[in-house]
Amino acid sequence: MRSAIRTGLVSGFVLLFFVLIGVYTTFEQLTLSGLWLTIKGATASEIAAQVPSMTNPQFSRIVTAVSAIIIGFLAARRAPRAGAMFARAVGATALAGAMMGLFLVIVDALYAAGFNVAFVFEKVKPETVQALLFDQPPLIGAAIWVILMAAFGVIGALLTLGWNALQKRRRPAEASRASETTTRRVQTGALIAAGLFLFLAPLFIGVYWNQVLGSIGLYVLLGLGLNIVVGFAGLLDLGYVGFFAIGAYTMAVLTSPNYPFGWTFWLALPVAMIMAAIAGTLLGIPVLRLRGDYLAIVTLGFGEIIRIILKFNPYTGGPQGVLNVAAPTFTIPIIGYTVEFNSSTPFWYLIFFTCIIVAFIALRLNDSRTGRAWTAMREDEDASEAMGVNTTRAKLLAFGTGAFFAGLAGAIYASRQQHIFPDDFTLLISINTLALIIIGGLGSIPGVIIGSVVLIGLPEVLRPVSDYRLLAYSALLVVMMLVRPEGLIPSARRKLEFHEREPELEIIESN
């Protein structure tokens, strides 16, 4: 019973948190037709024109119902008998509902007494409270909350029952492992299908989604580079955006007509990458002796220094940035046809092939002598040094390689955007990239791709609620670290690392 009370209290607080950050009011703007238009790539104003009334309480009600079912499910999970299950689920959901009701009653009373609650909690407006109380008098509204939540809790308990029955049935079947070659074949097939889809995608998705696809691809590039530094070598680098910025600005300054160089994209590309790699190695030198925490702060400071210098330095255009970055042209060898990079489609192909090449390089690097040195260094720096790994070299190589790929991403980004501004390169990009490689699974290359799709692509579908994007990222980051630190698609080694203790414990217990 105690665990049920705890679940109820915690979920009650989560529900209140949702009210405070305005989930209920914002989700009302989410309608099915609006969602469909977003997926089709319409702009916000187009959606507003076609869906005149954007308020729709259904979504917030669905959110409430789903959360109640989840609360019930969680509360009933560990109960021994079916009766206890229902009692716990209903108890927890009713408690959460009661907390919500109490809160609404208090806020309603405060408004009635003349206190402007919205001065402190901006999203808790009188009409929100009224809507949440189902337009009933406060006490009746609160009672409805308790009853409704309890009712959904019953559904949650039923789900738990079903889930447990499923688990029981599945357990014996688990013993016979599906043959590994079949899974491997399925995986390869899925990979080829996904690749083919992405290759042909620009032909049938609209301009908007083409742009989104490009952004995802650029984040994949950034993620692959950062994955080398953080995932392979275990050096937490928060100034990664600095190298991205160096790549972008090098490309911009070398190709923009506002500067005397006037190089072509293909000539500037390697220079941008090398500049970023040099910066990465230079940053590596002072932080060689530092571990974990210091490294994070120093690199963060470095990223900010680069942004501030770019922003207040007249040569790089100050806050106005650099305009008219050149786009590449590409002549297809045998046919002799010249592609002008004047839309997002050719850029998508550029990013697509670059991603494949970089992913291949990263994969091979991880299995190379250097990659093994990185792994050893990540696991235990002193031990790896004792085994003959030159950690200085390994660290500088990791920083340099990571920065090299960031420079590549930056150069493509500058060319694709045409105009770049210093405030494009905030800490946020570093944090986004870090979040996507961690959520995907540190050190895992498919993880980077999945992470980018989930973190960069998915929010585009849910544009009406994009205000919550960063909140969701950061919450995911924390929850991920608490629950599944190895990420969605962990690399085999990480999986072992984080669960290395468990088999031992099982042996001890069985003895």
Binding site: F17, L20, I21, G22, F119, V120, F121, E122, K123, V230, G234, L236, L238, I285, P286, V287, R289, L290, R291, G292, D293, Y294, A296, I297, V298, L300, G301, F302, E304, I305, I308, I309, K311, F312, D382, E385, N390, T391, T392, I431, L434, A435, I438, D467, Y468, L470, L471, Y473, S474, A475, L476, L477, V478, M481, L482, P485, E497
Partner: protein
């Protein structure tokens, strides 16, 4: 920068102390540091001479104002840095979300202040209002700190070091976004009570804002209280014991969990006070206000020697002063003042990683 011992071992056979060539006996790090300091001094002299030659020297009152400004910033940085140092001393982790605790303290103080203003309480009881504002900021920050430790850090105490660090970064962004979403867009302005308005005029026509003087005095008082608490009370002794060796402290009957919670609470109380001070000093608050002071305060903690309480105070004041005076002394635009803090951090980490007052740290602490 420094000759790597591993490579030099590989290249040459180990020589006896007397046979070592002169260039390996020189402390190159010290030499580079000395050259660097010399260049810095030369640059300062050159800039000031140029200004004097152009007849555009800063008047003494300007310097005095900048110094007082630096001391105010320094006091605030020192208070925040103490939170980092206390937690780092015990858990060996950077509480990245410490800056956000500062921000929540500032918001709590603001709402109490606004309530006092609205009811007219401020006009009649200024001292009580100030106490209430600081009390609210400190209380809310303390609760935040304890909650953060309980939810985000305690379950990860045995995890690899990267894991709590990433959690802390996530928590920092989460709290920042939470405050942005909950408290919303409007700019919140701290209205100073009448007793904090105006300026004291010191001899030599130097005007120091009363807010500034108040912040300096208040922060120094809090630091003295903290120092006494850590050095002369039972709890303080237990904190030092846990910082030195967790296992041994546990064996001596100290509840390590309790001490960690107390440490977070104390650090967060100081952060809350610093948040309210920042509110009065800058007169505007927003959800990102805590992040950079937080990072800079960490720099201050490293500067003074992380894990060292007087070091954090000293580091805070040094950082505050160099940020306030640096741009005018070195003749660089004031927008680069953030660069000064980070450059200082990098330089300290290269030349004296243990900080000014810090002792040599063991491998597991560095």
């Amino acid at each position: 920068m420094s000759a790597n011992p591993a490579t030099s071992h590989n290249n040459a056979p180990i020589l006896g102390r007397k046979q070592r060539p002169w260039y390996s006996r020189v402390n190159w790090i010290a030499v580079v540091a000395a050259i660097f300091v010399l260049l810095l001094i030369l640059r300062v002299i050159q800039v000031q001479m140029d200004l004097a030659a152009a007849g555009k020297s800063y008047p003494p009152a300007y310097w005095a104002f900048q110094i007082s400004n630096g001391l105010v910033l320094g006091g605030v940085y020192a208070l925040i840095a103490l939170g980092y140092t206390l937690v780092y001393g015990i858990l060996m982790m950077i509480n990245f979300a410490h800056g956000e605790i500062v921000m929540f303290g500032a918001y709590a103080g603001f709402f109490v202040l606004a309530a006092c203003d609205a009811t007219g309480f401020t006009k009649t009881n200024q001292v009580a209002t100030l106490l209430l504002v600081f009390g609210a900021g400190m209380l809310v920050s303390m609760l935040m700190g304890i909650g953060l430790e309980r939810i985000a850090y305690r379950p990860l105490r045995a995890a690899p070091r990267l894991v709590p660090l990433i959690t802390a970064i996530g928590a920092s962004v989460f709290l920042q976004e939470t405050s942005r979403l909950i408290f919303g867009a409007p700019i919140r302005v701290y209205n100073k009570p009448a007793m904090l308005q105006g300026a004291i005029t010191l001899p030599g026509n130097v005007a120091v804002p009363i807010t500034g003087a108040f912040i300096i005095v208040a922060s120094i008082i809090m630091m003295v209280v903290l120092y006494w608490l850590v050095q002369h009370t039972r709890t303080g002794r237990a904190m030092r014991a846990v910082a030195t060796n967790k296992e041994a402290a546990a064996l001596m009957g100290i509840s390590v969990d309790r001490i960690i919670v107390i440490t977070f609470a104390i650090g967060s109380i100081l952060a809350g006070a610093a948040g309210v001070m920042l509110g009065f000093h800058n007169s505007q608050i927003n959800s990102t206000m805590g992040f950079f002071p937080g990072i800079k305060a960490f720099t201050a903690a490293v500067l003074g020697g992380i894990g060292n309480i007087p070091g954090a105070m000293l580091g805070g004041f040094i950082l505050g002063l160099s940020e306030a005076l640096g741009p005018s002394l070195l003749g660089i635009p004031s927008q680069y003042k953030d660069v000064i803090a980070f450059t200082l951090l990098v330089l300290v980490l290269i030349f004296r990683p243990q900080g000014i007052l810090g002792e040599q740290l063991g491998a597991e602490k560095a």
